[in-house]
Every structure is written in C-alpha cells, then in structure tokens.
Amino acid sequence: MEIFLQQIVNGLAIGSIYALVAIGYTMVYGVMKLINFAHGDLVALAAYIGLTVLMQAFGMHITNLWAIILMFVVSALFISLFGVLLERLAYRPLRRAPRLSAVVSALGASLAIENGIMLIWGPNIKVFPSNVFPSASWHISGVVINSTQIAILLLSVILMLALYIFINKTKIGAAIRASAIDQDAAKLMGINVNGIIIAIFALGSFLGSIGGLFIGIYYRELYFQMGWIYGLNAFIAAIIGGIGNIPGAMLGGMLLGIFNVLIAGYVSNGWSEALTFVLLIIILIIKPTGILGERVAEKV
C-alpha cells in the first residue's frame, strides 16, 4: 500500500509536467485543428536553454534562488517568442493549404529544432545539476515527498489555475474560446483571430517551457531527441482528456503520469510506451472524444 501511494505521488509529479505540455497541444489544436508536432521539441529546447542559463548563473556566483528565477524567466521568454515565430514562419503560410501539408511542415520544424539542439549542444547527454532545489524531503506515513516534487506540483497547479481564470474570466480568454468554436464567426464579431493565434502559441509555448525545465530538474538527463517522447506522451494526455479541452488536458496529464509510473513499477519499462498507446486506443474505441469530451459550442 505504501509503495502504491509512493507511486501515486511520483505519478502526480510527472503528470503535472505532462499536463503543462499537453495544454500547449490542446490549445493549438482547439483553434487551428493542427497537431503541433514541434511543440515537444520546443519543450526540449526550453530545458537546454534553462541548463545553459543555470550554469552561467552558477558561474557568476549568483545565489541559488536568483539563478533559478533567472533560468525560468529567460527560458520561458525565449521559448514563448520562439513559439510565436514558429507559427509565423511554418504554419501561417499554410493556413489555407491541405491539412496534411501543415502536418508535414510541423514535422519539418520538429526535425529542424531537434537537430538544431544537436548542433548547438552536441549529441551527448547533458546532465542538470542535482542541487537546483534544496534536497529536503518529507516523510508522511511512509510516503516520501521531496522538495522538487512539491515545487513541481505547486507551480503547475498555480499556473493551471491562472490559465483557467485567464481563459474563463477575461476578455482575451473569451476571444480564445470563441475562436476555438468558430473562427469565421469570431472574425465577424471583430475578434482579431491572427492575434488570438499568436497569443495561443505564446501561452502554450510558455507553459511548455516550464514543463521542459521541470523535466530537466526532475529527470536531470537531457538528450536532443527527448522532445518526441515527452511530446507524444503529452499529446496522448491531451487526447485522453478530450482534445481542445483545457481542464481535460490537465486531467489527462495527471492520469497518464500515474499510469506511466504504475506500468514502470509493476510491469516493465520495455513495454511502457506500447501500453500507453494500448490505453489510448482503448479509450478512443470506447469514447472517441476523450474523457471530458471535446470543446462544444457554449454560451459566453
């Protein structure tokens, strides 16, 4: 039982990372009906940039707290900009093209970013320092929670709550929801859909970059193809929750995180990806729209 609870705690930490990344997929899909295959690689890029900033900051003898803050700010800013740039260069020219052409463009962007990382940081594994967060841990009736997990959970929950409020309570949020339901109608209502799409890419990339930094801090090993694996898992999380549905992405991420940890703990690592997909295919057969359902039209 204690082992099981421990797995759940680990699963929630990983799940909140998936959730952060999944939101980027789900928002872009909701408005543009496009699987942004390059999103996972942006997440990987965020981790690499974060590592570089952190090492520079440590080199300049800045206190730990400021180094961490600097890492988050620089990486998030850069990746948000990069996400907007990606949309401008690779997706906007193809908005009226066949949908599969945009998918190939996304695959091309993914390939370019992945190999760009390899050219800049080299093909070998990079390792995050182990002392990013203080190495404290708490024992609660046999279950161990360390400070990294607490930080990940807290920050993710705060970010997701902020996003939820932003989407549901602000004018821009209403415009985003309107664009997701019907782009043409949104245009007729005077919504600047181009601006909305830029906002979505900036937001999604921002949350993804935080997820990427957490991957670096939590797993500590970075390799240039990692964007694919984490990206694919996060995308599956988005589908499980119901694509285009932001609370769904959060729920799907948590569920998939717990599922992955249980598989690794009780079955074997060699089958983990295959079993994740088995779960996805079963869910798709039973309920094709995901657990919480896709976005449907609503009164704003």
Binding site: Y29, K33, I35, L89, A90, P93, L94, A97, P98, R99, L100, S101, A102, V103, V104, S105, L107, G108, A109, S110, L111, A112, I113, E114, N115, G116, M118, L119, L232, F235, I236, I239, I243, G270, W271, E273, A274, F277, V278, L280, I281, L284, I285, P288
Partner: protein
C-alpha cells in the same frame, strides 16, 4: 495518357542501365529506392486515395520483412513461398487494426496508427514469443529462387525490386481506373455524398488499409532479402513519418509525385552523407519551405477535369 507512358518507359530504361554505371553502394541505394517507392505507393492508397491519416505504415513494411525472416530462418521455408503468406498476414493485420478505429476523425486515426507502430516496435524489441530476436533482429535470410534462377547477386536483387515496383505501379494505375479507385476518390471528397450513392464507407476504408498493408508487406519481404537481415530500428515509427512525408511532399495520389517524393526524401540525403551533422537541420527547414511553396505536393495529381461547358457563359 500516351505521353506519360513514354516518360515511364524512359524512366524504366534508365533504371535498367543504371546499375552498370555506378559503384555497388549506389546500386543498393537504387534497390532501396524501388522498395521505398513501393511502400510509399501502398501508403498512398490509404493516405492519398482514401484520404485516411495513416502514420504507421512502417508496421506493415515490418510485418512483411519479419514474416519472411522468421519463416525462412526458423522453419526453412523458401522466400518465394513466404511472399503470399506475408502479404496475407499483413493484409489481415491491416483489417484487424483498422476495423475498430476506422470511424475516428482524421487526427485520432493518425495518433492511433502511430500507436500501433510503436506497439509493433516494442514487441520486436522485447523478442515477443521468442521469435523476433529482440534488438538485434534476425540474420542469415536466404535468397529467392524464381524458375530455377537464384536471385542472390546484388544486381539480381536490384532488378527484382524494380520488377516489384513496376508491378505495383500497374496495380495502382489499374486501381485508379477501376470502380474501386472511384469509390476511394468519392469517399475522400465527400463521405456523405459517397454513402448516399451506395458506397459502403466502412468496407472500402478497411479494404484500402488491407490493400496498402499487403503491398507494403511485399516490399518488406524483398527488403529483408536485400540486407539478408532485419532489425527493429528499420520499422520504427520515424520510418513511418518518412513514408508519410514522401506522399505529402511528392503529391498525394500522384504516381510520378510519389516517385519524386521518394527521390527527394530518401536519395537526395544520401548525397550529403559527409555533412552528417547539419544535414537533417537543413532538411527540416527544406520540408517547411517545400510545403509553403508547393502546398499540394511537388507534383500534384490532376484528377477529373470538369468539361468546358460548365465554365462557358450561357
């Protein structure tokens, strides 16, 4: 159509004399080009003609290669006899895989097919049923015998692969001209209209998968013969992404487009072997540019010209 036959004739004449002018490594590339073209054409039945998003086609390619390898090395069945078994098995898999997910919306189908590919890959890696040899794969695959001729030399395998490509092109050409091809085309253009004309949606979609799977499997058998070995990496889903990209970059449901796509996506990178590190970075950017400049593919298909009187002002 007459004009295009002349061009295809020239294309195959070049293919026939090609191996006598290049060194052996390029003969191998020519062989693989033919086989990849067959896989891309088979993927196009599903992706281009029937319009279903399939990004797991390397699965069927792999089923063919592994079926031939297992039957030939473990049970000593001659390669020629493994071909029909491989095709049938792969087509059956295509039916079983596509049956429950065929009604899903495009993008879900895409992710589900990626999923089947990854399940297949991990099954190979984990040496499922003790048959697949795990991460190392299977070695020592024999050569086919046709009418007493042993196809063992590099050039013989090259010509055999091109023969398979010719047969595939004829099959595709005939599908296009037949009731089947029209059914696929109408399904892609408008499912509702096709159904109201009595096209059985589910039957034709699953049939497209079965056909595509069978053809890809045929290429897989020859691929196993060419390298005399199979290993899981060759059938990972990154390979599926390559086949998917070949079809879209070349031009969906266009035979010359797909041949060109295979050339651009597989042969061209071979020229830049020495720039191994930067090559894929440039390649990714080239993919984006190609799609922006030619969103319908490099060599788009011309289908169903409307008669002139429709546009004539009355």
């Amino acid at each position: 159509m007459k004009k295009s036959f002349v061009w295809y004739g020239i294309f195959f004449v070049i293919a026939i004399i090609y191996p006598h002018f290049v060194d052996p490594s390029w003969v191998d590339i020519g062989t693989t080009f033919a086989l990849y073209s067959v896989v891309a054409l088979s993927q196009d039945i599903v992706l281009g003609k029937a319009g279903m998003f399939d990004m797991g086609h390397a699965t069927f390619f792999g089923i063919g290669a592994y079926t031939a390898a297992i039957l030939n090395t473990t049970y000593n069945i001659p390669i020629m006899y493994t071909i029909p078994i491989a095709i049938a098995l792969s087509a059956l898999f295509g039916i079983i895989i596509s049956w429950p997910i065929i009604h899903l919306r495009g993008d879900y189908l895409l992710v589900a097919t990626i999923g089947f590919n990854i399940i297949f890959y991990q099954a190979l890696q984990n040496n499922v049923f003790g048959l697949t040899g795990g991460p190392n794969g299977i070695f020592g695959i024999g050569t086919p015998m046709i009418f007493g001729i042993n196809i063992a030399s590099q050039k013989a395998i090259y010509y055999f692969a091109w023969l398979i490509l010719l047969v595939t092109m004829l099959i595709i050409y005939n599908i296009d001209k037949s009731k089947l091809g029209r059914a696929f085309h109408y399904l892609r253009e408008s499912e509702i209209a096709a159904e109201s004309f009595g096209v059985n949606k589910r039957f034709y979609k699953v049939l497209a998968f079965a056909l595509g799977a069978g053809l890809a499997s045929l290429a897989g058998v020859i691929f196993a013969v060419q390298y005399a070995a199979v290993s899981p990496e060759t059938f990972n889903f990154t390979q599926s992404v390559l086949f998917f990209t070949i079809v879209i970059v070349g031009g969906p449901s266009s035979i010359p487009g797909i041949l060109l796509g295979t050339f651009v996506m597989f042969v061209v990178p071979q020229f830049f072997r020495e720039f191994a590190t930067a090559r894929y970075f440039v390649f990714g950017i080239a993919m984006i540019l190609t799609m922006i400049l030619r969103p319908q593919g490099i060599w788009p298909v011309k289908f169903g010209k409307l008669p002139k009187y429709i546009f004539r002002k009355s």
